[in-house]
Subunit: 341 residues, 4 copies
């Protein structure tokens, strides 16, 4: 059985493990005060073209989302998300557990546009009997594999600014977004057109770890208190910073993501050539092909993946995910199996 | 400069890194559903002599404390802790941030006894104008290096049971407690005489990781929801389980702690021989010697440690910590320097 | 200008004020321990045909909802509500502020049916990555004026029981529901077929006050702690209990609600006779007629009401509310004005 | 049995009831938008000599405290209180339930001085491992009957300002403080030397109600959302504003408090003349005389009061409270009984 279920089925990229070994017995201060953290932040700020950015490393995506959102909101404020957004659909009420409503809105492709946000603002106008929207949460790539263009982000950001809203981007799969064939964003443009975002390590080669970027340092004042309070401050913070240093000191992070995308696109092409369609128009490492249930059943004998959504009596959408660690031969085999069944 | 500031200045024990490398590309399910987790839990249950125990792995101590305590308490309930307890003194209001008061009480040696708890119950009797005490939180070893005897734990547990209180032990340094020269507890007796406890990995050889043990499985029902909600469920849960498997498949965990204790006791003997006293009667890897400030100043040139407490114009207590990774030669050098100054 | 905006534009029914005056200088214990509370609870239990019920009085509906829901839920649990439900639409994230998600579902008439709940359960099946539904929240009458039949409540309750769900009814306008022409429920049947509900006083003749009824006393253990903690325990609890005693010692509560309904139905008949329709099929004291905007504009000169929803270029729905205090002559005048414009 | 247990044993001052009756059927907007609220705020601003103040009315003291404190604090911030402070000792963890630690400190007389606060700041210096103190909470009169002088408040306020701390005064018994024989504060000086405070109605003649005063309006922005969210926004807000209007349109509020103090001082004099001492040096309506247990037992036959604290085998301190409603003849009788036993 080969696993196409997710992009965290393996450990870390070998270069990361090597670096952990090489630095293992070097004494460092704890709680994020290690020298590697300084280095990793310097490397990242360079790539962001934003020397003013404030950066923190934590261990996972849900943790990041609840930390950032609960830190930036006051008691009566709320966050707006696509209904498919990870904070709305997959995090066990993590945001609500910090006291804040997640206002959801239906979207076609998992992306929020100014008109979606404007509609929410109209519904949430009856102050003080409703919460006050304050953060717009987006994911890039989205939970269904689509990505934002530079123009879309810029337009959304300007809308947010003119409505006293903060724009926060969940980058659990940011590497995959930035290396997609139709991408025109960079870390620098994202740093320019969002208030806060994070760069996901866990799903792109790290053992664990996400880098939270406050593009405007004034938003980050005292954030270390929150990290400690929510149990997210690792005593051995070096584990996180060493990994980000290794991923970003050259282009490893992007190379890994590009590989995942390339393999996904190979599968996508094969799906299309067989005449099948997709639930979403993904250009990244998550694919949602709609296949005959009989074929799904056959493929299930050799491959693990999620049955994502029932379409009708004969068809269902599945989710296939590739990663930096995906075995190319298994992709080839999967395509062959798909073509032959 | 050599660092005696804490027991998390280095990475992981080499056997752990080796195991991470060896298993790195084996595909596993995420979110704690990996095979290593099953193995590690089986090994631990054996050592606990408690097949019914429910075990979860998370990444840090503050995270563990806030998870367990907020999961077990209802809205109006509170936790009792020594004033020196980690949840009261060092966790940035993590418990309060989940909605619960930490009731603190002064102790002589960082340990809670039935009479301390009884006193709290007497003060918190005016229901419903006060919170309802429900959990007794203790640490072993304590934050000041002392340990509980089997008799003390048993007596406290019986008191808790007869007062509808849950007993929860913070085991951030449990290895050091269980290998102290004056210890008579085992994992099995702790499993018998507490409701919940955790075994700390971070401060005893792991990169990160704590094992939460619910001795009574009914207390653990649905706990995985809480882990996810608080951002503590690692996508690559294998990182935690592999480490605990390696630490407990033989006696590595205890060997590492014993080494730390032994080195600390060597320093303690030297301190005593020089005629100095201690702030607390530690038999574990944290020492609080009271030294002349002039000597502290000289030692500070070559060693890092915390100045813990001012005693008077001439004396202060410092905190020295040893670990599995402490260099024996540095301990020898430190003792020599102490004797010579 | 006459106010049809809501059912809390005036003070209290004169009998309530008289009783407050008559008892004013009688010394009583505070915090709900007054003798009137005992009497009022005895009277209510009689009407509920449920001597085991546990009853508490608090001051408002949002307060009641957040108290009951946060008290009954554990950290990872959630409440299901119609999208029009008060807790979802009108309470400024009060439930989320206590840490819990409100799962909303679209309904036709503001009422939840077993199939609605079943659908939510299906969506929230991917434990532990989603919250665990635990309470089903319904309102009777609903926020759009409709009511539940005995059969509907009974069926829903049985569904809840077979799915480990608690059924909680918001009775802010329960009097209006129970005196509607198409009603077949009583306080006793509601006590039988819900786990918890409340009887609203504020919108039916009281200065302020809601009676929370735990039909199963075991659910109410320690609830007084929660009342105090959320700031809902009035020092002079007598203010609440005296009012409920007066409202329920005979049929005053129902008489007041019936009057409100009767006046609303007079308006409804007039609306229908003029050939207009309604947004919702209300049989209680809230009406949502769809009227030509020109007529709305004319009526607005003499009457206050909410423009509820735009229908098209020419039509909008307005909300008209009657109460125990509505002046019958103003209703007559309004009908005449409606007929003549 | 006559009740000296508290100052909320009766209903409201007759003038308040009269006003509620007189205004009962005048239609008003709900949720604090009534005309009486405008009038009452205007009257209060005049007395505060602070036209910029923002004022809100809510129903009780615990509610006020949790509203103000949770609204002003960010997630990692905390409030400092005397150990005897109401938020620390008598509110069932209400502040912690909103996510914030209450840092307590021992005091001699229930009052906080700059040196007390400075000591807390020193202990809470190890950021980010501890919470960040942000609000200083004081009560006037205190929970043990003492009051602050103008000089004390001014000094404390200046200390707070120079340390980025907000000063918040709990005025549950502010009337009694401002009419004490040794008082030199006014509403205007309090408005000048605190950031936020509240004027308690419940314990001084109102049925219920407290007036929250933000002396600096920028602190109050959006506070109405919080009032609604915490269930503290009464639909019939008029009940609160009418009472404050009546209490403050002339000097009724102060007259009532003065009466309570005068009666308490009569008792105090009698206690002193009998040679007994007090637990605290109260000049307001709460007295804590230390009496022989035999005398306490005899007095208990005819009077209700709390046994506050055991002193030794023969003596205990009791708490006696007088109010606007206390019967002067009962005070005379009590003094006579005390003199004769």
């Amino acid at each position: 059985m080969y696993n196409f279920k997710n992009d965290y089925s393996e450990g870390a990229h070998p270069r990361i493990l090597d670096k952990l070994i090489a630095t293992n017995l070097v004494q460092q201060l704890g709680y994020g005060e290690d020298e590697y953290a300084q280095e990793a932040k310097a490397v990242l700020k360079e790539k962001l073209s934003n020397q003013a950015a404030t950066i923190h490393f934590v261990s996972g995506g849900t943790q990041t989302n609840l930390l950032v959102i609960s830190f930036l909101l006051r008691v009566h404020e709320a966050v707006i998300s696509a209904k498919t957004g990870h904070i709305a659909a997959n995090e066990t009420g993590a945001i609500e557990a910090t006291g804040h409503k997640v206002i959801t809105t239906e979207t076609i492709d998992g992306k929020l546009r100014p008109e979606d946000v404007a509609e929410v603002l109209a519904v949430y106008a009856l102050a003080p009997h409703v919460v006050k929207p304050r953060i717009v949460y987006i994911s890039n790539s989205t939970e269904i594999g689509t990505i934002y263009s530079k123009d879309e982000i810029k337009t959304l950001y300007k809308f947010c600014q003119s409505h006293q809203l903060l724009l926060y981007m969940d980058g659990a799969r940011l590497g995959h977004a930035l290396t997609a064939e139709n991408n025109d964003l960079t870390l620098a443009t994202i740093s320019q057109y969002t208030d806060v975002f994070y760069i996901g390590g866990t799903k792109n080669g790290a053992l664990l770890g996400e880098a939270i970027i406050f593009n405007k340092p004034e938003l980050a004042t005292d954030f270390d208190y929150a990290i400690k309070q929510k149990g997210a401050m690792l005593a051995k913070g070096r584990i996180l910073s060493i990994q980000f240093l290794e991923l970003f000191k050259d282009d490893l992070y992007f190379d890994l993501a590009r590989k995942a995308n390339t393999l996904a696109m190979r599968i996508a092409t094969a799906v299309r050539e067989k005449g099948y369609t997709f639930l979403t128009q993904s250009t990244t490492n998550q694919l949602f092909p709609i296949l005959p249930k009989k074929i799904i059943e056959r493929l299930s004998a050799d491959y693990q993946f999620y049955i994502w959504k029932n379409i009708d009596a004969d068809y269902a959408a599945i989710r296939l995910i590739t990663s930096w660690a995906t075995d190319e031969e298994k992709v080839t085999a999967f395509i062959k199996d798909l073509q032959e069944v």
